[in-house]
Amino acid sequence: MTTDPAPLRPVRALRRFVLVAVVVPVILTLAAVAVQLVLLPQLPDPVAIHWDAAGRANGFAPAWTAVVLTVVLGLGLPLLLAATVIRPLRRGETGFTFRFLGAVALALSVLMTVLMTASLAVQTGLGDAGDAPSIVLVLVVALVVAVLGGVAGWFAQPRAVAGAAEVAPTAPLALRPGERVVWMRTASIARGGAVALVIIVMALAAAAAVAWFIADAALAGILTATTLILAAGLACTILFHVRVDDQGLRVASAVGVPRFEIPLGEMTEVACVRVHPMAQFGGYGIRSLPGRTGVVLFTGDAIEVTRRGGKQFVVTVPDARTAVALLQALREREKTD
């Protein structure tokens, strides 16, 4: 019996992600807080927490605010990032996006803990925080260390496998000679996402309306324009009509544009694949990767068409299996005609 490493990969990706984006930031934050508490008795009160462009301290606060900020930013930010992707990761998804977010979470944690701790360290022994030395060097060092931390976080996680797995191969649909067949289906973005997007647009519209009354016209104009652009984008990506017939595959948004049409003769391969939008396309909606375009609206089965020249087009749609079976049958019939 041979051992297949493939099923282990998602587990390993999840473990390493948690290590990089949660465990290490927790340790870093605890260490930073410990150092800060040791420094506390030797610090001026208040301490400098902000510097102007010339490097002079111009913002002050009690020393404990630095400790609180270290916890909130050094641990809170990475935890927030981790929380957004932990669910798909636990479902076994892997991919570039997750690996990248893990590395960013670690880099942010390093940046915040080093910056906060070092900015306190340079003030030890000062009688007045107004004499605090310039922060530029501390900032540069913190940034460099953060980038190094991010790179380490990236390489600590396993390489992403992003290819879509083919669902059990579909048999072509049985067609009678001369039979006309059409398959149609509406694909809409996952309900949770759609609700969130609509709420965002409505909130923006409300803000724009309020701005016309109480704020200046420029702000109101900008808000209104943003609302309109977002609403148009929403209308173009929230719902798609997918059609398969003897013309080929046609995918059009509810408003008609954008639209994708692939004639049967253009196709070299058709398959039903399982798509995880976050892992494989880095998000939802119309996504373009090198050599691969996707209308990916939810996690689930999708039609995958390979075109002449090797470029692929993917669309997630309910009942994709039937659509693929029909496309295969139509292609076979066209070849024999």
């Binding site: 006309r180 059409v182 289906r185 009509h241």
Partner: protein, 118 residues
């Protein structure tokens, strides 16, 4: 939703379209609340007359499988659930008929006759 029409069949086109929709419901490709595609679009894709598709949709409405409202199109009703409940029985029947060498048309005729007698 899969709609198939065979111009060489003896069944009228509107009946074939309606039968396709029923088959979609039985196969679970359409469920209660789903909207049928616009008749105009179906007609264009199958290269048949718009009124043929509308006639099929009206027949489906008359038997209660879809609800037609102005501006909302044709929507599958809860009657779909009843059709799905018949799915396993229909498959059993077809399998038995095939085992006994009975053609689908003969089976359909028998079912029709039996429903008339009941």
């Amino acid at each position: 939703m899969l709609i198939r029409t065979d111009p060489t069949s003896d069944d009228p086109l509107f009946a074939q379209v309606a039968a396709s929709v029923r088959a979609d419901v039985v196969a679970g490709r359409l469920v209660a609340g789903d909207r049928l595609p616009a008749a105009r679009e179906v007609a264009a894709a199958l290269d048949i007359n718009l009124h043929t598709v509308l006639r099929a949709y009206q027949d489906l409405r008359d038997e209660g499988l879809v609800d037609m409202r102005r501006g909302r199109g044709a929507v599958v009703t809860d009657a779909a659930t009843a059709l799905v409940a018949l799915r396993d029985d229909i498959r059993d029947l077809v399998r038995k008929a095939r085992a006994h060498g009975l053609s689908p048309d003969s089976l359909a005729a028998l079912v029709k006759e039996t429903s008339r007698d009941d």
